[in-house]
Symmetry: C2
DNA sequence: CACGATACGGAGACACTCTCCGGTTAGCAA
DNA sequence: TTGCTAACCGGAGAGTGTCTCCGTATCGTG
């Protein structure tokens, strides 16, 4: 890739990061191109879909997820405390941008999604928690079910613009349902 | 209202019902107007927002919800059986149209929504179930929390195009978390 | 320094939303 | 039955956002 192309790509990603944070995932792509100081054609050549741009914006997110799950596991506590802490963290991780919970949760189900490697990270993080909890969890629980249950809650909170304290009681219900 | 206006309104609602069923809630409104054989201006005069049209389409839905909750209560069973049956029914009720779970669940939080009277029906139905279950439920559970938890699951299933059998295991987790 | 492969960009086509205002008609009173 | 007017209609067009095409620009190598 040419140097000017790399420069433009980075400018687009940074402009998108800003736009997604302030206006959500549905921020107009032509506006993002303008903010980046490039043409719309340039944006579309680097990122053919909104989702591929979102994936690029989430570059540092993988490390953030891994750090977070490591920290949650290191803090220990009862299975309930640990799972509640992880789910709290999980909601935070996927709620960075408005519309994020719905998009990321949907991408978890889609093996053709440009975000699939990022989703793999989330899946692996869930799997570490499941391994740690072992028999404390009801039978048949997997990584994807964690994603769906908590992603559903995060989506409702995000789309309904609910206050942060709404999350905890619902996570408690799910945690108590998951543990035996 | 003039007779021709009432006829047009009915035609629009029927065209919308078809469009929402086959193409989801985001079906283009100009297309719906065309299918109804009226002008876009006519559609917008009868229904200033997509949500007000959705509300009109849901006219018979109130009766359907009341019938459903009555039936669920009449069948009895253990608290777990009753609650699972209700949640199953709840997911079916809000998933009639693609995009329905997300929209209805969001409308539950919005007192200015044109769908608020329909949502009131859902809230009341949840309240009947909560009354019936009484002390079998963990403390602090209310009608809105039912709506959020189950609405979240329904949204994830709807948006991820998950198969119907995916729903049950997740509802079981929530039910077991809600009961003491 | 020249050249060509690679990258750019923005106008415009397309899709959808929604309003405006000239035209039409239902229904009522004389 | 007729005339009148308030209520209703409808569709063109302005606005917004997506995304492609192709003439132009420039990076990087020989």
């Amino acid at each position: 890739m040419r140097a000017d192309a790399a420069r433009n790509r980075d400018k687009i990603v940074e402009a998108a990061r800003q736009a997604f944070r302030t206006r959500g995932y549905d921020a107009p792509l032509d506006d993002i191109a303008k903010a980046a100081g490039v043409g719309a054609g340039t944006l579309y050549r680097h990122f053919p879909t909104r989702e591929s741009l979102v994936d690029a914006v989430m570059q540092a997110w993988v490390e953030r997820v891994n750090d977070a799950v490591g920290k949650v596991l290191a803090e220990g506590g009862t299975p309930r405390e640990l799972l509640l802490r992880w789910f709290d963290t999980y909601v935070e991780l996927i709620s960075v941008h408005k519309g994020g919970p719905a998009k990321i949760t949907r991408a978890m189900e889609d093996d053709t999604s440009p975000m699939r490697t990022k989703c793999q990270t989330l899946r692996a993080a869930n799997a570490q928690i499941i391994d740690e909890l072992g028999a404390a969890l009801r039978p048949g629980v997997d990584s994807l079910q964690f994603a769906r249950l908590v992603g559903g809650i995060a989506s409702v909170v995000d789309q309904g613009n609910l206050p942060a304290p709404s999350v905890k009681p619902m996570l408690e219900v799910v945690v108590d349902g998951l543990l035996v």
